[in-house]
């Protein structure tokens, strides 16, 4: 199992979520982060003084999937998150050793999200 961690633009999230859902990966988590990278900071002005905020709001997306599904997820993210401009973000893949579903207590890769056929089923 792997956790895919992506730092992306806010606008990119909704298309990614939609496609992942269609592909049978409904499960993921996001949070608000502030990132520093190659992107320039924002210059703010307050009562005559300037202050620069080097940190730009980004969305951090976390999604744990079976190792075999990693590339699908990464590709989906790359596809929708790219504008070609600085600040598009990065995607990292990290190892996960075990997974549990809280509701049932089950463990193992099976508890991860349904595969495409599940999505098809659910569409019914």
């Amino acid at each position: 199992m792997k956790m895919i961690v992506a730092y992306i633009r806010h606008e990119a999230f909704e298309p990614i979520r939609t496609e992942l859902l269609a592909l049978g990966f409904p499960s993921l988590s996001i949070s608000e982060v502030k990132g520093s990278g190659r992107q320039k900071g924002i210059t703010e002005r307050y009562r005559g003084a300037e202050l620069t905020n080097y940190l730009r709001p980004k969305v951090k997306l976390e999604c744990v999937v079976a190792s075999g599904d990693v590339q699908t997820i990464v590709d989906t993210i790359l596809k929708h998150a790219r504008t070609g401009a600085v600040g598009d973000g990065k995607v990292f893949v990290m190892p996960v050793e075990e997974a549990y579903r809280v509701r049932t207590g089950e463990a193992g890769e099976e508890i991860l999200q349904a595969h495409p056929d599940a999505a098809a089923t659910s569409a019914a």
């Binding site: 633009r9 806010h10 606008e11 996001i30 924002i42 089923t121």
Partner: protein, 494 residues
């Protein structure tokens, strides 16, 4: 001058007077009548200004409550205050005014329903003052009395926040504005039964009629409603459920303080002798002392100066001075206020142990309302008892407990009547449409569940990054749309 230029000339004729001092109009009317008319206009102006200040107290109550509730219930307070003010506007017009001021019977008035210009009002207190026909000044009286009713109703809901069903508001609001409040107002303000106890119960602007009535309704509601989930632990110990916004709470308190300068001084119902200016000072001194009393008390109790308690101190003192504001001299005001300030802190802490009253309405309006009403029996000055021609001087002047006894009767009667009527009303509501939202709705908050939207609607929407602003090359490829597209289907496949 074409007919169209004559437009409003009549309505504005008064303004011409300065320029054309001997205008035809002025010549026709005897000077005494002109002065009498003008006196009525001045008094009407003051009463309307005062009423408008009191109307704005609705915003005061709204923001006091918004500050004290959790963010998930903040938007609902707005829907609530608009609905209640509206329902009671209509209810007061249909029947409330008639019962309160539409005749001199002991229990209730019986004319003035669906109040209209030119209507005849039955022989009564009001008739004695305004004649028996509805006109402009009479309208000012109607509206001033209405905003009092609306304040009283606003107080009721303080104990019920964050869990009551919305449908309860219009139902109880109608009963309250058409029956419960008008009865009490009639008994004390409208020449009814309590104005015949002794030389009359002294309640200048309504510590009992308005505030205790509201707080008593609040108590009845609370007993049937129960505490918010999580307020009391399994061991029965109270837990703090902090509100979400002290600045907006403060806005509420300051607006209420402002409104009270209409509430008490407006209850002179005119400008005679400039009495209302004295009432302004009395009101302000009491409120100031209330803040100080509450601040010192809470600081001594917990070593921190709780913002909410300072505000509660102001409100409690304002409530307490409401009844005596037209009866006491300046010196008594800070005393009445400081006692109210201390009382409200002590009572909020005590009541919280058993009853879940998120804004402290029982203490600030109930206990302080009782204290204020009784305070007349102690501090009323002989000159003002006489001036108002109601009741007698208080204990410190007369050495007699008589007026205190009368005041006690007033408090007890009002409390009992309101409690019984309200309890019955709420019990019927509970048995029929229900009083309380389901547990899941309470947990999720009334905003999303009953209003369909959070009070801070954006809060769960991922906000687009500050794209482009100085951060993109000029050749940046066009991005699809500004906002995260919002899909239109509703269900996520399980």
């Amino acid at each position: 001058m074409s007919r169209s230029l004559a437009v409003r000339v009549l309505a504005l004729a008064a303004l011409t007077a300065l320029v054309l001092p001997t205008a035809a109009f002025a010549q026709d009317v005897p000077i005494e009548d002109q002065v009498a008319d003008l006196t009525s206009r001045v008094d009407t102006t003051w009463v309307i200004v005062a009423a408008v200040l009191v109307m704005f107290m609705q915003a005061g109550f709204a923001f006091l409550e918004i500050g004290f509730v959790r963010g998930k219930n903040a938007g609902s307070v707005i829907a609530k205050i608009l609905t209640n003010f509206s329902i009671s506007s209509i209810g007061w017009w249909i029947a409330g005014f008639a019962i309160a001021f539409g005749g001199g019977a002991k229990i209730a008035g019986d004319s003035g329903f669906l109040f209209g210009y030119g209507d005849t009002i039955n022989e009564s207190f009001a008739q004695g003052l305004y004649g028996d026909t509805v006109n402009g000044p009479f309208s000012a009286f109607f509206f001033f009395q209405f905003v009092f009713c609306a304040v009283s109703l606003a107080i009721v809901w303080g104990t019920t926040l964050e869990r009551i069903k919305f449908i309860v508001y219009p139902i109880y609001g109608l009963v309250f504005s058409m029956l419960i409040y008008p009865l009490i107002a009639h008994w004390i303000f409208g020449g009814g039964i309590l104005s015949t106890v002794g030389n009359g119960v002294q309640d200048f602007a309504g510590s009992t009629v308005v505030h205790l009535t509201g707080a008593t309704g609040a108590l009845a509601a609370l007993l049937l409603l129960g505490p918010r989930k999580g307020k009391y632990g399994p061991d029965g110990k109270p837990r703090a459920i902090p509100g979400h916004n002290m600045p907006l709470f403060g806005l509420g308190v300051l607006i209420l303080w402002l409104g009270w300068f209409g509430f008490n001084p407006g209850s002179t119902l005119g400008t005679g002798d400039g009495r209302f200016a004295e009432v302004v000072i009395v009101t302000n001194l009491a409120a100031a002392a209330g803040v100080i009393g509450a601040a010192v008390t809470i600081y001594l109790k917990q070593g921190k100066l709780d913002v909410g308690m300072c505000g509660n101190g102001a409100i409690a003192a304002l409530v307490a001075i409401t009844a005596p504001s037209g009866y006491v001299e300046f010196w008594a005001a800070p005393i009445i206020g400081v006692v109210a300030g201390v009382l409200v802190v002590v009572c909020v802490l005590a009541i919280d142990k058993k009853l879940d009253d998120p804004v402290g309405a029982l203490s600030a309006h109930g206990v302080a309302g009782i204290w204020g009403t009784l305070a007349c029996g102690i501090f009323t000055s002989p000159r003002l008892a006489e001036f108002n021609a109601i009741g007698d001087a208080g204990l410190v002047y007369s050495g007699s407990f008589k007026q205190l006894g009368v005041q006690f009767v007033g408090v007890a009667a009002a409390f009992t009547a309101v409690f019984v009527l309200s309890y019955i009303t709420f019990a019927i509501i509970k048995a029929t449409v229900g009083l309380r939202v389901e547990d899941e709705m309470e947990e999720a908050g009334l905003d999303i569940t009953e209003r369909g939207m959070y009070g801070y609607p954006e809060q769960f929407i991922p906000e687009p990054e500050l794209v482009g602003y100085g951060a993109f090359p000029a050749s940046r490829p066009p991005v699809v749309t500004g906002h995260t597209p919002i899909p239109t289907t509703t269900e996520v496949p399980a």
